[in-house]
Protein backbone atom coordinates (compact mmCIF):
# COMPACT_ATOMS: atom_id res chain seq x y z
CA UNK A 1 0.00 0.00 0.00
CA UNK A 2 2.88 2.35 -0.70
CA UNK A 3 1.48 5.62 -1.93
CA UNK A 4 2.98 8.93 -2.79
CA UNK A 5 2.58 11.26 0.18
CA UNK A 6 3.74 14.69 1.12
CA UNK A 7 6.65 15.18 3.44
CA UNK A 8 4.50 16.88 6.03
CA UNK A 9 2.11 13.96 6.05
CA UNK A 10 5.04 11.62 6.61
CA UNK A 11 6.27 13.67 9.56
CA UNK A 12 2.86 13.59 11.20
CA UNK A 13 2.39 9.87 10.62
CA UNK A 14 5.89 9.11 11.88
CA UNK A 15 5.28 11.05 15.09
CA UNK A 16 1.93 9.35 15.66
CA UNK A 17 3.25 5.87 14.89
CA UNK A 18 6.29 6.28 17.14
CA UNK A 19 4.12 7.58 19.99
CA UNK A 20 1.87 4.53 19.74
CA UNK A 21 4.86 2.17 19.53
CA UNK A 22 6.50 3.76 22.57
CA UNK A 23 3.30 3.51 24.61
CA UNK A 24 3.02 -0.19 23.76
CA UNK A 25 6.67 -0.80 24.57
CA UNK A 26 6.77 1.45 27.63
CA UNK A 27 6.04 -1.22 30.31
CA UNK A 28 9.00 -3.27 29.09
CA UNK A 29 11.21 -0.20 28.95
CA UNK A 30 10.11 0.89 32.42
CA UNK A 31 10.87 -2.57 33.81
CA UNK A 32 14.37 -2.48 32.31
CA UNK A 33 15.01 1.04 33.68
CA UNK A 34 13.73 0.01 37.11
CA UNK A 35 16.05 -2.97 37.17
CA UNK A 36 19.04 -0.59 37.24
CA UNK A 37 17.70 1.57 40.07
CA UNK A 38 18.16 1.23 43.81
CA UNK A 39 15.11 -0.04 45.65
CA UNK A 40 14.49 3.43 47.06
CA UNK A 41 14.48 5.25 43.74
CA UNK A 42 12.49 2.41 42.15
CA UNK A 43 9.46 3.42 44.21
CA UNK A 44 10.16 7.16 44.25
CA UNK A 45 7.09 9.34 43.83
CA UNK A 46 6.76 11.02 41.38
CA UNK A 47 8.33 8.25 39.24
CA UNK A 48 11.78 9.07 37.93
CA UNK A 49 12.61 8.07 34.39
CA UNK A 50 16.32 8.50 35.06
CA UNK A 51 18.12 8.45 38.36
CA UNK A 52 21.64 9.37 39.37
CA UNK A 53 22.34 6.20 41.33
CA UNK A 54 22.43 3.53 38.61
CA UNK A 55 23.42 0.13 39.90
CA UNK A 56 24.00 -3.40 38.69
CA UNK A 57 23.53 -4.74 42.17
CA UNK A 58 20.01 -6.04 41.53
CA UNK A 59 21.28 -8.34 38.82
CA UNK A 60 24.17 -9.52 40.96
CA UNK A 61 21.86 -10.21 43.86
CA UNK A 62 19.21 -12.06 41.86
CA UNK A 63 21.92 -14.12 40.22
CA UNK A 64 23.60 -15.01 43.49
CA UNK A 65 20.70 -15.46 45.87
CA UNK A 66 17.83 -16.97 43.99
CA UNK A 67 19.38 -19.97 42.32
CA UNK A 68 18.71 -18.08 39.13
CA UNK A 69 21.23 -20.05 37.03
CA UNK A 70 19.33 -23.28 37.69
CA UNK A 71 15.99 -21.81 36.60
CA UNK A 72 17.66 -20.35 33.54
CA UNK A 73 19.29 -23.68 32.70
CA UNK A 74 15.97 -25.47 33.07
CA UNK A 75 14.30 -22.97 30.73
CA UNK A 76 16.96 -23.52 28.08
CA UNK A 77 16.88 -27.32 28.33
CA UNK A 78 13.09 -27.52 28.38
CA UNK A 79 12.35 -25.09 25.57
CA UNK A 80 15.11 -26.31 23.24
CA UNK A 81 14.59 -29.96 24.14
CA UNK A 82 10.83 -29.95 23.62
CA UNK A 83 11.25 -28.12 20.31
CA UNK A 84 13.84 -30.56 18.96
CA UNK A 85 11.82 -33.58 20.04
CA UNK A 86 8.72 -32.03 18.48
CA UNK A 87 10.55 -31.36 15.21
CA UNK A 88 11.79 -34.96 15.07
CA UNK A 89 8.21 -36.23 15.22
CA UNK A 90 6.60 -33.43 13.19
CA UNK A 91 8.95 -33.15 10.20
CA UNK A 92 8.08 -36.58 8.71
CA UNK A 93 4.37 -35.99 9.36
CA UNK A 94 4.32 -32.53 7.80
CA UNK A 95 6.41 -33.75 4.87
CA UNK A 96 4.03 -36.61 4.18
CA UNK A 97 0.93 -34.43 4.46
CA UNK A 98 2.38 -31.74 2.19
CA UNK A 99 3.68 -34.01 -0.57
CA UNK A 100 1.44 -37.07 -0.41
CA UNK A 101 -1.87 -35.48 0.60
CA UNK A 102 -4.78 -37.85 1.03
CA UNK A 103 -8.49 -37.22 1.12
CA UNK A 104 -8.45 -36.71 4.85
CA UNK A 105 -5.32 -34.59 5.21
CA UNK A 106 -7.28 -31.41 5.86
CA UNK A 107 -9.49 -33.12 8.46
CA UNK A 108 -6.40 -34.54 10.13
CA UNK A 109 -4.81 -31.10 10.36
CA UNK A 110 -8.00 -29.65 11.78
CA UNK A 111 -8.21 -32.45 14.33
CA UNK A 112 -4.62 -31.78 15.40
CA UNK A 113 -5.39 -28.10 15.88
CA UNK A 114 -8.54 -28.95 17.81
CA UNK A 115 -6.49 -30.83 20.43
CA UNK A 116 -5.06 -27.39 21.29
CA UNK A 117 -8.58 -26.23 22.10
CA UNK A 118 -8.89 -28.60 25.03
CA UNK A 119 -8.23 -26.50 28.12
CA UNK A 120 -5.03 -27.70 29.75
CA UNK A 121 -6.49 -27.24 33.20
CA UNK A 122 -9.28 -29.73 32.37
CA UNK A 123 -6.80 -32.58 32.09
CA UNK A 124 -4.39 -31.25 34.69
CA UNK A 125 -5.14 -33.88 37.35
CA UNK A 126 -4.67 -37.00 35.21
CA UNK A 127 -1.51 -35.60 33.68
CA UNK A 128 -0.26 -34.69 37.14
CA UNK A 129 -1.04 -38.19 38.46
CA UNK A 130 0.55 -39.92 35.46
CA UNK A 131 3.65 -37.81 35.92
CA UNK A 132 3.67 -38.54 39.64
CA UNK A 133 3.44 -42.30 39.19
CA UNK A 134 5.95 -42.50 36.36
CA UNK A 135 8.43 -40.36 38.26
CA UNK A 136 8.34 -37.65 35.58
CA UNK A 137 7.08 -35.00 37.98
CA UNK A 138 9.51 -32.14 38.55
CA UNK A 139 11.98 -33.55 36.01
CA UNK A 140 13.29 -31.82 32.93
CA UNK A 141 12.49 -34.78 30.71
CA UNK A 142 8.91 -34.74 31.97
CA UNK A 143 8.49 -31.10 31.02
CA UNK A 144 10.20 -31.66 27.68
CA UNK A 145 7.57 -34.30 26.89
CA UNK A 146 4.63 -32.23 28.16
CA UNK A 147 5.60 -29.07 26.27
CA UNK A 148 6.44 -31.04 23.14
CA UNK A 149 2.94 -32.52 23.13
CA UNK A 150 1.40 -29.15 23.88
CA UNK A 151 3.09 -27.48 20.92
CA UNK A 152 3.15 -30.41 18.48
CA UNK A 153 -0.02 -29.35 16.58
CA UNK A 154 1.45 -25.90 16.00
CA UNK A 155 4.81 -27.31 14.92
CA UNK A 156 3.12 -29.63 12.41
CA UNK A 157 0.90 -26.85 11.04
CA UNK A 158 3.78 -24.44 10.61
CA UNK A 159 6.01 -27.00 8.91
CA UNK A 160 3.11 -28.07 6.70
CA UNK A 161 2.55 -24.54 5.41
CA UNK A 162 6.26 -24.10 4.72
CA UNK A 163 6.62 -27.50 3.01
CA UNK A 164 3.58 -26.87 0.82
CA UNK A 165 5.41 -24.03 -0.84
CA UNK A 166 8.19 -26.30 -2.04
CA UNK A 167 7.29 -27.09 -5.65
CA UNK A 168 6.40 -30.75 -6.06
CA UNK A 169 8.10 -30.82 -9.50
CA UNK A 170 11.48 -30.61 -7.84
CA UNK A 171 10.75 -33.77 -5.90
CA UNK A 172 9.51 -35.49 -9.03
CA UNK A 173 12.67 -34.55 -10.86
CA UNK A 174 14.72 -36.02 -8.05
CA UNK A 175 12.63 -39.17 -8.19
CA UNK A 176 13.22 -39.42 -11.96
CA UNK A 177 16.91 -39.25 -11.29
CA UNK A 178 16.48 -42.31 -9.15
CA UNK A 179 16.72 -40.74 -5.73
CA UNK A 180 15.11 -42.91 -3.08
CA UNK A 181 12.96 -41.59 -0.31
CA UNK A 182 15.98 -41.02 1.87
CA UNK A 183 17.90 -39.31 -0.91
CA UNK A 184 14.88 -37.12 -1.54
CA UNK A 185 14.83 -36.00 2.07
CA UNK A 186 18.55 -35.45 2.48
CA UNK A 187 19.46 -33.84 -0.85
CA UNK A 188 16.32 -32.07 -1.98
CA UNK A 189 13.96 -31.48 0.86
CA UNK A 190 16.35 -30.54 3.62
CA UNK A 191 18.08 -27.63 1.86
CA UNK A 192 14.79 -26.19 0.62
CA UNK A 193 12.95 -26.71 3.86
CA UNK A 194 15.68 -25.49 6.17
CA UNK A 195 14.48 -21.87 6.45
CA UNK A 196 10.98 -23.05 7.35
CA UNK A 197 12.32 -25.54 9.87
CA UNK A 198 14.56 -22.88 11.39
CA UNK A 199 11.75 -20.40 11.93
CA UNK A 200 9.43 -23.11 13.26
CA UNK A 201 12.16 -24.03 15.73
CA UNK A 202 12.71 -20.43 16.80
CA UNK A 203 9.03 -19.75 17.37
CA UNK A 204 8.43 -22.93 19.30
CA UNK A 205 11.37 -22.20 21.54
CA UNK A 206 9.66 -18.88 22.27
CA UNK A 207 6.28 -20.52 22.97
CA UNK A 208 7.86 -23.15 25.21
CA UNK A 209 10.01 -20.60 27.05
CA UNK A 210 6.93 -18.51 27.85
CA UNK A 211 4.66 -21.43 28.78
CA UNK A 212 3.31 -20.78 32.25
CA UNK A 213 0.75 -23.47 33.02
CA UNK A 214 2.39 -26.89 32.81
CA UNK A 215 5.60 -25.43 34.14
CA UNK A 216 3.78 -24.27 37.28
CA UNK A 217 1.70 -27.43 37.72
CA UNK A 218 4.33 -30.05 36.96
CA UNK A 219 7.36 -28.65 38.78
CA UNK A 220 8.28 -27.75 42.32
CA UNK A 221 11.99 -27.03 42.57
CA UNK A 222 14.33 -29.24 40.55
CA UNK A 223 12.97 -28.70 37.06
CA UNK A 224 11.25 -25.33 37.54
CA UNK A 225 12.03 -22.96 34.66
CA UNK A 226 11.95 -19.16 34.72
CA UNK A 227 8.21 -18.88 34.14
CA UNK A 228 7.53 -20.82 37.36
CA UNK A 229 10.24 -18.86 39.18
CA UNK A 230 8.75 -15.49 38.24
CA UNK A 231 5.21 -16.58 39.05
CA UNK A 232 6.30 -17.45 42.59
CA UNK A 233 8.40 -14.28 42.89
CA UNK A 234 5.61 -11.81 42.44
CA UNK A 235 3.56 -11.54 45.59
CA UNK A 236 3.36 -7.84 46.45
CA UNK A 237 6.19 -7.25 48.89
CA UNK A 238 6.89 -3.53 49.03
CA UNK A 239 10.53 -2.72 48.56
CA UNK A 240 11.66 -5.25 46.00
CA UNK A 241 10.72 -3.66 42.70
CA UNK A 242 14.24 -3.25 41.43
CA UNK A 243 15.08 -6.88 42.11
CA UNK A 244 11.80 -8.08 40.64
CA UNK A 245 12.53 -6.01 37.53
CA UNK A 246 16.05 -7.40 37.26
CA UNK A 247 14.77 -10.97 37.58
CA UNK A 248 12.04 -10.25 35.01
CA UNK A 249 14.51 -8.69 32.60
CA UNK A 250 16.78 -11.71 32.89
CA UNK A 251 13.80 -13.97 32.25
CA UNK A 252 12.58 -12.25 29.10
CA UNK A 253 15.61 -10.66 27.44
CA UNK A 254 16.98 -13.81 25.75
CA UNK A 255 13.62 -14.59 24.22
CA UNK A 256 12.82 -10.96 23.42
CA UNK A 257 15.97 -10.73 21.34
CA UNK A 258 15.25 -14.06 19.65
CA UNK A 259 11.74 -12.79 18.93
CA UNK A 260 12.98 -9.57 17.36
CA UNK A 261 15.00 -11.59 14.88
CA UNK A 262 12.14 -13.88 13.97
CA UNK A 263 9.22 -11.44 13.89
CA UNK A 264 8.61 -11.81 10.15
CA UNK A 265 8.48 -15.60 10.33
CA UNK A 266 6.31 -15.35 13.42
CA UNK A 267 3.45 -13.85 11.47
CA UNK A 268 3.66 -16.28 8.59
CA UNK A 269 4.14 -19.28 10.81
CA UNK A 270 1.45 -18.55 13.33
CA UNK A 271 -1.21 -17.76 10.75
CA UNK A 272 -0.58 -21.16 9.18
CA UNK A 273 0.02 -19.45 5.87
CA UNK A 274 -3.49 -18.03 5.78
CA UNK A 275 -2.31 -14.42 5.71
CA UNK A 276 0.33 -13.38 3.22
Amino acid sequence: MARAVSRRHKVVVTLAAWSVALIIFFPVLWMILTSFKTETSAVASPPQLFTADWTLENYAEVWARSDYPRFFGNSVVISVGSTLLGLAIAIPAAWAMAFVPGKRTKDLLMWMLSTKMMPAVAVMIPVYLIFLRTGLIDTRIGLVIALMLMNLPIIIWMLYTYFKEIPAEILEAARMDGAGLWGEIVHVLTPMALPGIASTMLLNIILAWNEAFWTIVLTTTNAAPLSAFIASFSAPQGLFYAKLSAASAMAILPILILGWFSQKQLVRGLTFGAVK
Binding site: P92, A96, P119, M124, L181, N210, V275
Partner: protein, 290 residues
Protein backbone atom coordinates in the same frame (compact mmCIF):
# COMPACT_ATOMS: atom_id res chain seq x y z
CA UNK B 1 1.90 -38.86 -8.71
CA UNK B 2 1.78 -40.72 -5.48
CA UNK B 3 2.44 -44.41 -5.83
CA UNK B 4 1.08 -47.08 -3.58
CA UNK B 5 4.36 -47.46 -1.73
CA UNK B 6 4.78 -43.74 -1.21
CA UNK B 7 1.29 -43.63 0.27
CA UNK B 8 2.24 -46.33 2.72
CA UNK B 9 5.44 -44.47 3.58
CA UNK B 10 3.43 -41.28 4.08
CA UNK B 11 1.10 -43.04 6.51
CA UNK B 12 4.05 -44.35 8.48
CA UNK B 13 5.50 -40.86 8.66
CA UNK B 14 2.27 -39.33 9.93
CA UNK B 15 1.60 -42.17 12.38
CA UNK B 16 3.89 -41.12 15.28
CA UNK B 17 2.36 -37.63 15.45
CA UNK B 18 -1.18 -38.96 15.34
CA UNK B 19 -0.46 -41.64 17.93
CA UNK B 20 1.20 -39.36 20.50
CA UNK B 21 -1.41 -36.63 20.06
CA UNK B 22 -4.19 -39.18 20.36
CA UNK B 23 -2.71 -40.61 23.56
CA UNK B 24 -2.08 -37.10 24.94
CA UNK B 25 -5.72 -36.32 24.29
CA UNK B 26 -7.55 -39.57 25.09
CA UNK B 27 -5.78 -40.95 28.16
CA UNK B 28 -6.12 -37.84 30.35
CA UNK B 29 -9.63 -37.30 29.01
CA UNK B 30 -10.71 -40.85 29.89
CA UNK B 31 -9.18 -40.51 33.36
CA UNK B 32 -10.90 -37.17 33.87
CA UNK B 33 -14.25 -38.69 32.93
CA UNK B 34 -13.60 -41.54 35.40
CA UNK B 35 -12.71 -39.19 38.26
CA UNK B 36 -15.64 -36.92 37.50
CA UNK B 37 -17.99 -39.70 38.65
CA UNK B 38 -15.96 -40.55 41.74
CA UNK B 39 -15.91 -39.18 45.25
CA UNK B 40 -12.22 -38.39 45.55
CA UNK B 41 -10.88 -35.85 48.02
CA UNK B 42 -7.19 -35.72 48.79
CA UNK B 43 -7.89 -34.74 52.40
CA UNK B 44 -10.06 -37.81 53.02
CA UNK B 45 -8.93 -40.43 50.50
CA UNK B 46 -10.46 -43.32 52.48
CA UNK B 47 -13.95 -42.11 51.57
CA UNK B 48 -13.85 -43.10 47.92
CA UNK B 49 -16.59 -44.45 45.72
CA UNK B 50 -18.95 -43.82 42.84
CA UNK B 51 -20.97 -40.70 43.23
CA UNK B 52 -23.00 -40.49 40.04
CA UNK B 53 -23.56 -37.02 38.72
CA UNK B 54 -23.14 -35.35 42.10
CA UNK B 55 -19.82 -33.70 41.17
CA UNK B 56 -21.43 -32.25 38.06
CA UNK B 57 -24.46 -31.14 40.05
CA UNK B 58 -22.24 -29.38 42.58
CA UNK B 59 -20.36 -27.61 39.82
CA UNK B 60 -23.43 -26.52 37.88
CA UNK B 61 -25.25 -25.38 41.04
CA UNK B 62 -22.31 -23.41 42.39
CA UNK B 63 -22.90 -19.67 41.98
CA UNK B 64 -19.19 -19.40 41.30
CA UNK B 65 -19.65 -21.53 38.17
CA UNK B 66 -21.88 -19.04 36.38
CA UNK B 67 -19.59 -16.22 37.36
CA UNK B 68 -16.64 -18.24 36.05
CA UNK B 69 -18.42 -18.85 32.74
CA UNK B 70 -19.28 -15.19 32.31
CA UNK B 71 -15.75 -14.15 33.34
CA UNK B 72 -14.27 -16.56 30.78
CA UNK B 73 -16.49 -15.21 28.01
CA UNK B 74 -15.79 -11.65 29.15
CA UNK B 75 -12.05 -12.28 29.04
CA UNK B 76 -12.05 -13.92 25.60
CA UNK B 77 -14.58 -11.47 24.13
CA UNK B 78 -13.05 -8.39 25.73
CA UNK B 79 -9.53 -9.19 24.58
CA UNK B 80 -10.73 -10.06 21.06
CA UNK B 81 -12.66 -6.80 20.70
CA UNK B 82 -9.81 -4.66 22.04
CA UNK B 83 -7.06 -6.34 20.04
CA UNK B 84 -8.98 -6.46 16.75
CA UNK B 85 -10.13 -2.82 16.89
CA UNK B 86 -6.89 -1.32 18.21
CA UNK B 87 -4.87 -3.73 16.07
CA UNK B 88 -6.66 -2.55 12.92
CA UNK B 89 -6.15 1.12 13.80
CA UNK B 90 -2.47 0.67 14.62
CA UNK B 91 -1.90 -1.44 11.51
CA UNK B 92 -3.50 1.29 9.35
CA UNK B 93 -1.22 3.83 11.03
CA UNK B 94 2.09 2.02 10.68
CA UNK B 95 1.30 0.75 7.20
CA UNK B 96 1.83 4.30 5.95
CA UNK B 97 5.32 5.48 5.06
CA UNK B 98 7.15 6.34 8.29
CA UNK B 99 10.75 6.81 9.24
CA UNK B 100 12.24 3.93 11.17
CA UNK B 101 9.79 1.23 10.09
CA UNK B 102 12.03 -1.59 11.33
CA UNK B 103 12.72 -0.40 14.90
CA UNK B 104 9.09 0.68 15.14
CA UNK B 105 7.90 -2.87 14.49
CA UNK B 106 10.33 -4.28 17.00
CA UNK B 107 8.85 -2.02 19.69
CA UNK B 108 5.28 -2.91 18.74
CA UNK B 109 5.83 -6.69 18.67
CA UNK B 110 7.75 -6.81 21.97
CA UNK B 111 4.90 -7.49 24.44
CA UNK B 112 4.17 -10.74 22.60
CA UNK B 113 7.50 -12.17 23.72
CA UNK B 114 7.04 -11.31 27.39
CA UNK B 115 6.04 -14.43 29.33
CA UNK B 116 2.61 -14.16 31.02
CA UNK B 117 3.85 -14.12 34.66
CA UNK B 118 6.31 -11.31 33.85
CA UNK B 119 3.72 -9.30 31.90
CA UNK B 120 1.29 -9.70 34.77
CA UNK B 121 3.81 -8.77 37.44
CA UNK B 122 5.10 -5.69 35.58
CA UNK B 123 1.57 -4.33 35.32
CA UNK B 124 0.50 -5.38 38.78
CA UNK B 125 3.54 -4.07 40.64
CA UNK B 126 5.14 -1.30 38.61
CA UNK B 127 1.94 0.26 37.29
CA UNK B 128 -1.24 -0.80 39.09
CA UNK B 129 0.07 -1.17 42.64
CA UNK B 130 -2.03 1.13 44.89
CA UNK B 131 0.98 2.48 46.83
CA UNK B 132 4.06 2.19 44.64
CA UNK B 133 2.66 1.87 41.14
CA UNK B 134 3.04 4.57 38.51
CA UNK B 135 -0.72 5.00 38.14
CA UNK B 136 -1.00 5.64 41.90
CA UNK B 137 1.72 8.30 41.66
CA UNK B 138 -0.16 10.04 38.86
CA UNK B 139 -3.42 9.87 40.78
CA UNK B 140 -1.80 11.37 43.90
CA UNK B 141 -0.14 14.03 41.77
CA UNK B 142 -3.54 15.03 40.43
CA UNK B 143 -4.93 15.04 43.96
CA UNK B 144 -7.06 11.92 43.48
CA UNK B 145 -7.22 8.69 45.42
CA UNK B 146 -5.24 5.85 43.81
CA UNK B 147 -7.40 3.20 42.17
CA UNK B 148 -7.26 -0.26 43.74
CA UNK B 149 -7.09 -2.02 40.38
CA UNK B 150 -6.92 -5.63 41.54
CA UNK B 151 -9.56 -5.15 44.24
CA UNK B 152 -12.05 -2.86 42.53
CA UNK B 153 -11.67 -3.82 38.87
CA UNK B 154 -10.03 -7.28 38.84
CA UNK B 155 -11.57 -8.53 35.58
CA UNK B 156 -10.96 -5.27 33.74
CA UNK B 157 -7.34 -5.28 34.95
CA UNK B 158 -6.77 -8.87 33.79
CA UNK B 159 -8.41 -8.15 30.41
CA UNK B 160 -6.23 -5.06 30.05
CA UNK B 161 -3.03 -7.02 30.75
CA UNK B 162 -3.94 -9.88 28.41
CA UNK B 163 -4.98 -7.43 25.67
CA UNK B 164 -1.59 -5.74 25.97
CA UNK B 165 0.10 -9.09 25.45
CA UNK B 166 -1.98 -9.99 22.38
CA UNK B 167 -2.26 -6.58 20.71
CA UNK B 168 1.08 -7.00 18.88
CA UNK B 169 0.01 -10.31 17.40
CA UNK B 170 -3.25 -8.89 16.03
CA UNK B 171 -1.48 -5.76 14.79
CA UNK B 172 1.24 -7.64 12.95
CA UNK B 173 -1.15 -10.05 11.22
CA UNK B 174 -3.47 -7.23 10.15
CA UNK B 175 -0.47 -5.23 8.97
CA UNK B 176 0.73 -8.16 6.87
CA UNK B 177 -2.71 -8.41 5.29
CA UNK B 178 -2.84 -4.65 4.62
CA UNK B 179 0.44 -4.81 2.75
CA UNK B 180 -1.02 -7.11 0.13
CA UNK B 181 -3.79 -4.61 -0.64
CA UNK B 182 -3.22 -3.04 -4.04
CA UNK B 183 -2.72 0.70 -3.94
CA UNK B 184 -4.22 1.14 -7.42
CA UNK B 185 -7.62 0.09 -6.16
CA UNK B 186 -7.46 2.64 -3.37
CA UNK B 187 -6.25 5.39 -5.65
CA UNK B 188 -9.00 4.64 -8.15
CA UNK B 189 -11.58 4.83 -5.38
CA UNK B 190 -10.08 8.08 -4.19
CA UNK B 191 -10.34 9.58 -7.67
CA UNK B 192 -13.95 8.48 -7.86
CA UNK B 193 -14.53 10.63 -4.82
CA UNK B 194 -14.70 7.95 -2.12
CA UNK B 195 -13.98 9.37 1.31
CA UNK B 196 -11.42 7.80 3.64
CA UNK B 197 -14.25 6.20 5.59
CA UNK B 198 -15.80 4.78 2.39
CA UNK B 199 -12.46 3.34 1.35
CA UNK B 200 -12.08 1.72 4.76
CA UNK B 201 -15.62 0.36 4.76
CA UNK B 202 -15.77 -0.97 1.19
CA UNK B 203 -12.19 -1.84 0.28
CA UNK B 204 -9.93 -2.21 3.31
CA UNK B 205 -12.31 -3.97 5.69
CA UNK B 206 -13.41 -6.68 3.20
CA UNK B 207 -9.75 -7.26 2.40
CA UNK B 208 -9.00 -7.72 6.11
CA UNK B 209 -11.81 -10.23 6.76
CA UNK B 210 -9.59 -13.24 6.36
CA UNK B 211 -6.87 -11.81 8.59
CA UNK B 212 -9.40 -10.90 11.26
CA UNK B 213 -10.84 -14.42 11.27
CA UNK B 214 -7.34 -15.82 11.66
CA UNK B 215 -6.67 -13.47 14.58
CA UNK B 216 -9.93 -14.57 16.23
CA UNK B 217 -9.25 -18.28 15.71
CA UNK B 218 -5.70 -18.28 17.01
CA UNK B 219 -6.29 -15.92 19.90
CA UNK B 220 -9.35 -17.87 21.04
CA UNK B 221 -7.28 -21.05 21.21
CA UNK B 222 -4.83 -19.33 23.54
CA UNK B 223 -7.30 -17.13 25.44
CA UNK B 224 -9.56 -20.01 26.49
CA UNK B 225 -6.65 -21.35 28.53
CA UNK B 226 -5.46 -18.09 30.12
CA UNK B 227 -4.02 -19.00 33.48
CA UNK B 228 -0.64 -17.44 34.32
CA UNK B 229 -1.91 -13.85 34.32
CA UNK B 230 -4.66 -14.62 36.85
CA UNK B 231 -2.41 -16.85 38.95
CA UNK B 232 0.16 -14.06 39.21
CA UNK B 233 -2.20 -11.14 39.88
CA UNK B 234 -5.64 -11.66 41.43
CA UNK B 235 -5.58 -15.41 42.14
CA UNK B 236 -9.18 -15.34 40.94
CA UNK B 237 -10.25 -12.83 43.59
CA UNK B 238 -11.36 -10.86 45.39
CA UNK B 239 -13.78 -13.65 46.26
CA UNK B 240 -14.40 -15.11 42.86
CA UNK B 241 -14.68 -11.81 41.00
CA UNK B 242 -11.96 -12.73 38.52
CA UNK B 243 -12.26 -16.52 38.59
CA UNK B 244 -12.47 -17.97 35.09
CA UNK B 245 -13.52 -21.54 34.38
CA UNK B 246 -9.91 -22.81 34.14
CA UNK B 247 -9.06 -21.00 37.36
CA UNK B 248 -12.11 -22.38 39.17
CA UNK B 249 -11.07 -25.92 38.23
CA UNK B 250 -7.53 -25.15 39.38
CA UNK B 251 -8.84 -23.92 42.74
CA UNK B 252 -10.99 -27.07 43.21
CA UNK B 253 -8.01 -29.30 42.54
CA UNK B 254 -5.25 -27.41 44.35
CA UNK B 255 -6.93 -25.45 47.15
CA UNK B 256 -10.01 -27.58 47.88
CA UNK B 257 -8.17 -30.79 46.95
CA UNK B 258 -11.40 -32.19 45.55
CA UNK B 259 -10.32 -34.21 42.53
CA UNK B 260 -13.82 -35.44 41.69
CA UNK B 261 -15.31 -31.96 41.45
CA UNK B 262 -12.32 -30.56 39.59
CA UNK B 263 -12.61 -33.41 37.09
CA UNK B 264 -16.31 -32.72 36.58
CA UNK B 265 -15.40 -29.07 35.97
CA UNK B 266 -12.75 -30.23 33.52
CA UNK B 267 -15.29 -32.22 31.50
CA UNK B 268 -17.65 -29.25 31.47
CA UNK B 269 -14.78 -27.08 30.21
CA UNK B 270 -13.96 -29.61 27.48
CA UNK B 271 -17.60 -29.65 26.34
CA UNK B 272 -17.75 -25.85 26.26
CA UNK B 273 -14.41 -25.64 24.41
CA UNK B 274 -15.75 -28.12 21.86
CA UNK B 275 -18.83 -26.00 21.28
CA UNK B 276 -16.66 -22.93 20.73
CA UNK B 277 -14.25 -24.92 18.56
CA UNK B 278 -17.09 -26.29 16.44
CA UNK B 279 -18.38 -22.83 15.57
CA UNK B 280 -14.88 -21.45 15.05
CA UNK B 281 -13.82 -24.27 12.76
CA UNK B 282 -17.03 -24.03 10.76
CA UNK B 283 -16.82 -20.30 10.44
CA UNK B 284 -13.11 -19.95 10.03
CA UNK B 285 -11.70 -23.31 8.99
CA UNK B 286 -12.50 -22.68 5.34
CA UNK B 287 -10.33 -19.57 5.39
CA UNK B 288 -7.25 -21.62 6.14
CA UNK B 289 -5.17 -23.13 3.36
CA UNK B 290 -5.10 -26.84 3.83
Amino acid sequence: MATHSSRLAARLMVAPSVVVLFIWMIVPLAMTIYYSFRLYRLISPERAGWTGFRNYAWFLNSPEFWQAISNTLLLVGGVLVITVILGTLIALLIDQPVWGQGPLRILVISPFFVMPPVAASIWENLFMHPQNGMFASFALGLGMKPILFMEQYPMASVIFIVAWEWLPFATLILLTALQSLSSEQLEAAEMDGATALDRFRYIILPHLTRAITVVILIQTIFLLGIFGEIFTTTQGGPGSASTTLPYMIFKQAIAAKDIGRAAAGGIIAVILANIVAYFLMRGIGRHLDA
